[in-house]
Subunit: 307 residues, 2 copies
């Protein structure tokens, strides 16, 4: 059985967004424990992950050093974080497997994701990323980026377009089928547009769960496992009448989605990815916490979405 | 036929070490032209590359931002540059292949390289990297790093240990055999030490040509193609009696090496890698310039080293 596992931000940095690299390695190591269980039981895995705190740190460093080192475009920053987080996961996973006496290869594949330059998202960038800038700096930044008011200052606003296709899916599939655990499409992938087949990086951030769905569908995974901070998807989350969803059809979930149960900034894209995956031929999407990942895969907990 | 191609720094950044990202993409695109020729003729390639200017830029950004963002260890910085440069090569190569009507997959694999913690290099770090620091900053840096006098200031000095083994060689081999072009072991690889089989990142820089040799031997490549700024290895380079080497045995080359023809900072490690590769069972090492790569592979130019 093949699964794409989408790790949430906390899986890598823990709850402190300013975690040091040692803390990041330690959080990653801990997160690998449920991953190791899946591998032990014979699952073929492709792991994807977010990159919010890491890309934020790079943008902040670029901001501080911009008088000396020209800042790099956002698509290049994503490639940097794929290298960094891929290394951390790959290193921790090899070690945790080793401790269990399992000899298995792990490889990170740098991944580009095609988006459309006609995507509506490019007309109005809405996703705030990176550090807060003062007025003067923000004015300079406006030459290259859309900046939005944020408290007393400004933040970079970037478009969040739809993922259309994973460029490196053949390589990823190939490794997975050879029994190698793959880390891919980190941070939602490096966004590129295709003009006459020529791929060109573009400044945007693709939602990581939607990218994970695209990847899972393209490599024909059986299961898409989305790991977040909560054990279930809830109706009326944090409100009166809160209720966990255990087993739900795409149609039913879509109805709840339309009723506004899932906020755009958190559960929204996960639910959207869940629906898309089973409609694109996937057997099941599971949404649960990293701690419960293995139990959820065994059907003991978590929200299970089917066609 | 299988070849490992080691790209020199100029292949990515051109001759200006402070090249902007656009200039870097443009230099990379140009460098891909001879690579495309090899692929067209049916060669299976694994590409490695240096990362000097890129890791220098990251260290400089970390220096400028260190009051706000904790600097990352050097092994993590190497992983960042593998992501960045891998993306640039992979993007440019896919596009150049496309222009020639070739549909081929390209994938970057983040690569760890095992070194020994008992390597003599760790006793006395000698390789200067990154920006120049003032006295006060240097004193602070000395808490974590060895710093060496450099003109009026100080630079970080790092150990350059021997590569022992490429951790991700199975994944790299697998992709290559599936006809996918692989970019791997960038910047000499991420240095890790193994303690009871547990891999731990360590601050060091592995020579990229020696890492390329290790990779080529481990995946049983036929040819190791080392691309530098000059078309040949020369005896008495830049001196009276300068003479290019066309075809040379490992034994003969070793003699010239002992006579001091090849400086440690430039041709030295390339010659050492060349000798090691053919002694480890490789058919041939070729040292030439990126412009002449294809002609050299065809036996028309370049220095050819055999056992």
């Amino acid at each position: 059985m093949k699964a794409v596992v989408a790790l949430g931000g906390n899986a890598i940095v823990g709850r402190d967004r300013r975690a040091s690299i040692e803390q990041q390695f330690s959080a990653t190591r801990k997160s690998m424990k449920s991953i190791v269980k899946m591998i032990k039981e014979g699952w073929h895995l492709v792991i994807t992950h977010g990159n919010g705190p890491q890309v934020g740190a790079i943008l902040l460093q670029q901001k501080m050093a911009r008088s000396i080192v020209p800042p790099m475009p956002l698509h290049v920053c994503v490639s940097l974080t794929q290298g960094q987080i891929g290394y951390m996961i790959q290193n921790c996973l090899i070690n945790e497997l080793k401790k269990e006496g399992i000899k298995k290869d792990v490889a990170t594949v740098i991944t580009q994701v095609i988006v459309s330059k006609h995507d509506e998202a490019f007309k109005k960038p809405t996703k705030p990323i990176g550090p807060v800038y003062g007025e003067e700096e923000a004015k300079e930044m406006m030459k290259s980026y859309t900046m939005g008011k944020y408290g007393d200052g400004y933040r970079m606003l970037v478009p969040s377009p739809e993922p259309i296709s994973i460029v490196e899916s053949e390589a990823i599939k190939n490794l997975m089928e050879a029994g190698i655990i793959v880390i891919a499409a980190g941070g939602g992938g490096i966004p590129v547009v295709a003009e006459d087949g020529i791929l060109k990086g573009i400044d945007a951030v693709i939602d990581k769960d939607l990218a994970a769905e695209k990847l899972a569908s393209q490599i024909k995974a059986d299961v898409l496992l989305i790991l977040s901070d909560v054990d279930f998807v809830y109706l009326n989350y944090g409100k009166e009448g809160q209720r966990e969803l255990k087993s739900v059809s795409a149609k039913e979930l879509e109805r709840y989605q339309k009723e506004g149960h899932f906020p755009a900034g958190s559960m929204g894209p996960k639910v959207e990815a869940a629906i898309r995956f089973v409609r694109n031929g996937g057997k099941e999407t599971i949404i649960t916490s990293i701690e419960k990942a293995w139990e959820a895969l065994n059907g003991e907990t978590g929200t299970h979405v089917h066609a």
